[in-house]
């Protein structure tokens, strides 16, 4: 089991290639949805890192918004539109915030962790909605994105952004996958099931949670930065308000925690369901989203990825144990 060949890296790379090829086939609006899925998927990936150790944040729009606003403010006040620089800054500022708040949050588990995150995201929402310098509720519109010396316009810019985002997201997913394979990354079950034992092995659960929290904050910032570039606009209502955090948890539930690929598939499914519901049933699209979420919770509690796992578990020795473990978790 433990020594199964690691196919995820190949899968990720194939996925990247497929995405880049897909770009030539699908219509523009679909490219837009794909880019947004990459952004939201990254945030959900951050939630996955936390969720594996039994924690859920109902306030990750905090980091999403932080990354997005960093990009927005750089564009507005510094005139910096370079994608490399703005995304890097968005990621770093979100990471620094997560590092700071992490000292407090790492002491909490369960619903308190979830709600305290929500409280912080609502404080950020309040600040953004209040201050005209930060665009208030109207938000901030971004100048067209540039890539070092390359400054495409119009539809070309969207394609460039998609390619850029896809490659970066690939890199991010690979890094997270490598992290999850590391000793620190493996401290998920350990934190969820038995922090006392972890302490007596020589590492503290709080430190492990802090590390994971920073990683999830970085991913949130990354997602927010990419989303800001994709939308071309940042505003508090659609980036920081609490239902936005709810959407990320929705995607995480939809995806399942099985693999780093899952959140991206989940995010795409989410976008498609939402677009479809909004198109076909404009009056009751919330009802459809809620119904979908309920159905997932009731019938597919381990998310879409469990479909993959289930198929895989039919073959290969030793997989039954892992499946059993999963039932235990439930």
């Amino acid at each position: 089991m433990t020594w199964r060949r690691d196919k995820t890296l190949w899968g990720l790379t194939l996925g990247l290639a497929a995405l880049l090829l897909l770009n030539f086939v699908v219509p523009d609006w679909f490219t837009n949805i794909l880019t947004l899925s990459l952004a939201r998927g990254s945030v959900a990936l951050g939630l996955l890192v936390l969720w594996r150790c039994g924690l859920i944040s109902f306030g990750h729009a905090l980091y999403f918004g932080f990354g997005a606003y960093t990009v927005g403010l750089m564009s507005r006040y510094l005139g910096i539109t370079d994608a490399f620089l703005t995304i890097a800054c968005g990621v770093v500022t979100a990471g620094v915030l997560a590092y700071g708040l992490g000292f407090l949050l790492r002491q909490y588990r369960g619903i308190f962790f979830a709600l305290l995150n929500m409280a912080f995201s609502m404080i950020l929402y309040g600040v953004l909605a209040k201050l005209e310098e930060l665009g208030s509720t109207d938000g901030i519109s971004l100048e067209a994105t540039t890539y070092l010396w390359y400054a495409p316009l119009g539809a070309e810019n969207k394609t460039a952004l998609f390619v850029f985002a896809a490659i970066l997201t690939w890199g991010v997913a690979v890094l997270v996958h490598l992290y999850l394979r590391s000793t620190l990354g493996h401290m998920t079950t350990a934190v969820r099931e038995n922090e006392i034992r972890l302490g007596y092995l020589g590492y503290s659960g709080e430190r492990a949670v802090h590390a994971k929290y920073v990683i999830s904050g970085l991913l949130g910032g990354f997602g927010g930065a990419v989303a800001a570039l994709t939308i071309g606009h940042v505003d508090p209502d659609s980036m920081v308000y609490w239902p936005v955090s709810g959407d990320f948890v929705f995607i995480a539930i939809l995806s399942g925690t099985g693999n780093v690929v899952a959140p991206f598939i989940g995010a795409l499914m989410y976008e498609l369901i939402r677009t479809y519901a909004f198109d076909q049933f404009p009056g009751i699209w919330q009802l459809i989203m809620g119904g979908t979420l309920l159905a997932i919770i009731m019938f597919l509690p381990n998310g879409l990825w469990s479909l993959v796992e289930r198929r895989r578990s039919r073959g290969g020795p030793g997989s039954a144990d892992r499946l059993q473990a999963r039932e235990e978790e439930a």
Binding site: W10, G11, G139, D237, S238, M239, L268
Partner: protein, 437 residues
């Protein structure tokens, strides 16, 4: 990662995508997308009346039953295919939806948007998507001043919000000097519209009559908070007699209910830049006060153009109530589109015009809307100005409805900055170049 589920998943996604793409436009109509609030707090007072206004006018356009000059069938001879969709959910969603509507469903014109946040979010995207977009209500002057300085596809068919609040200040200084001698205080919702409204009003007051002082601290309660007991205490305690409030919708209705129970409106005079819509709904329960803005809604009563008479009577017939200003604004945007298409066709020798020709026809144009004339004179010919009307609202027992008395009409050039001047700086700088009378 396993290959099999992935292919299966991609197939599923592709199937979804195909089913989404179905229903793309047929060629022989003008497809008009109308974003408006169908859910959430903006729906009842703004979104739904707006939708009603649009649907009424579009039906009439397709039947050719509008009065002149809009009495031809369709836009440039083609029937209008209307797609109304929800504006709630914030800027991100609106950007995505706009893309979907344009790229997936192939709409030709977008006419709508209530919230400034939506407008700010989609402004550049509309230009990028090259779709003719007529903004209907969202008030922020930043659209053409900051966001899109070289507009091509983006137009706005009403005054931006500065005009309304400057008009309010003019009216206060001219008609309500007695109520403002102890100064004035503001209570506005804590978001962009509320903040802008207070700033414009306050600056205009300072320019027009610096002897009237604003209160030391203004109230900015959270949007949709619904509980105003404490704020009402503060207002009751304040020495200032005049209160500026750009509240709207459910917040305004709750504020009025709670304020009435505590005698607030007997002690203070209120300036409501967007109170007109609520006055419609509350009727007798609406406290007396100043209302804004423009020749719409209540203020359009008694404006005897054939278009306005038709609109008021048909609207009453269809929806059992008078049209409020959002109904006017949305209907006006459709009229603007029709004007542009029809004019462009004429210029094109009777052939259906290209989008560029339609845009050319609309830039710098002057044309009739329901109850007034608009001039597309600002924002390089993309931002309309109209005159602004202010008055004192009162319940009239005899008529059984709210009437407006002491109406003063301010010319468009009086309450709007000249072309090329930033609105906020114009007000701050003493409203130079304003032509009042």
């Amino acid at each position: 990662m396993n290959a099999i589920p992935r292919t299966r998943f991609m197939a599923l996604a592709a199937a979804l995508a195909v089913s989404l793409a179905a229903g793309a436009a047929s060629a022989q109509t003008v497809k008009v997308a109308v974003p408006t609030f169908l859910t959430g707090g903006g729906a009842p007072t703004y979104g739904v009346p707006a939708k009603n206004g649009v649907e009424l006018v579009v039906r009439a356009i397709n039947e050719g039953t509008l009065p002149a000059p809009y009495d031809s069938v369709g836009m440039a001879g083609r029937k209008v295919d209307l797609v109304v969709y929800d504006e709630s959910g914030g800027g991100t969603k609106q950007v995505t939806e706009l893309r979907n509507k344009v790229q997936k469903e192939g709409v030709d014109v977008v006419a709508g948007y209530i919230s400034s946040g939506s407008c700010a979010a989609i402004a550049r995207v509309a230009e990028e998507l090259q779709v003719l977009t007529l903004l209907s209500i969202c008030g922020t002057p930043r659209i053409f001043e900051e966001l899109v300085k070289e507009p091509k596809y983006l137009f706005r068919i009403i005054n931006h919000s500065t005009g309304g609040n400057v008009g309010a200040a003019h009216y206060v200084v001219r008609k309500l000097r007695g109520n403002v001698k102890d100064g004035y205080i503001g209570i506005n919702q804590n978001y962009a519209w509320g903040q802008d409204a207070w700033r414009d009003f306050n600056l205009a007051m300072q320019t027009l009559s610096p002897e009237f002082k604003p209160a030391r601290k203004q109230q900015f309660p959270k949007l949709f908070s619904g509980q105003y007991g404490t704020e009402i205490s503060v207002l009751l305690r304040a020495k200032e007699k005049l209160v500026h409030s750009s509240f709207w919708g459910g917040d305004l209705e709750a504020f009025i209910a709670q304020g009435t129970a505590r005698g607030l409106f007997e002690r203070k005079t209120f300036v409501w830049p967007v109170g007109e819509i609520t006055a419609h709904r509350l009727g007798k329960k609406f406290p007396n006060g100043q209302l804004a803005r423009g020749p719409y809604g209540l203020y359009a009563e008694g404006i005897d153009t054939p278009l306005n008479k038709w609109f008021r009577s048909e609207f009453r017939k269809a929806y059992k109530q008078s049209p409020s200003s959002p109904a006017y604004h949305y209907a006006d945007s459709i009229l603007a589109a029709k004007y542009a298409y029809d004019t462009a066709m004429k210029a094109n020798g009777g052939k259906f015009p290209s989008t560029d020709q339609v845009i050319k026809a609309l830039e710098h144009a002057t044309f009739d809307i329901l109850a007034a004339k608009v001039k597309m004179s600002l924002g390089k010919g993309h931002q309309a100005v109209t005159s602004d009307r202010w008055g004192y609202a009162e319940w009239d027992d005899a008529k059984g409805e709210i009437v407006v008395r002491d109406v003063v009409e301010f010319k468009a050039e009086c309450v709007n900055p000249p072309e090329g001047v930033n609105a906020a700086e114009w007000v701050k700088g003493g409203m130079k170049g304003a032509k009042c009378d």
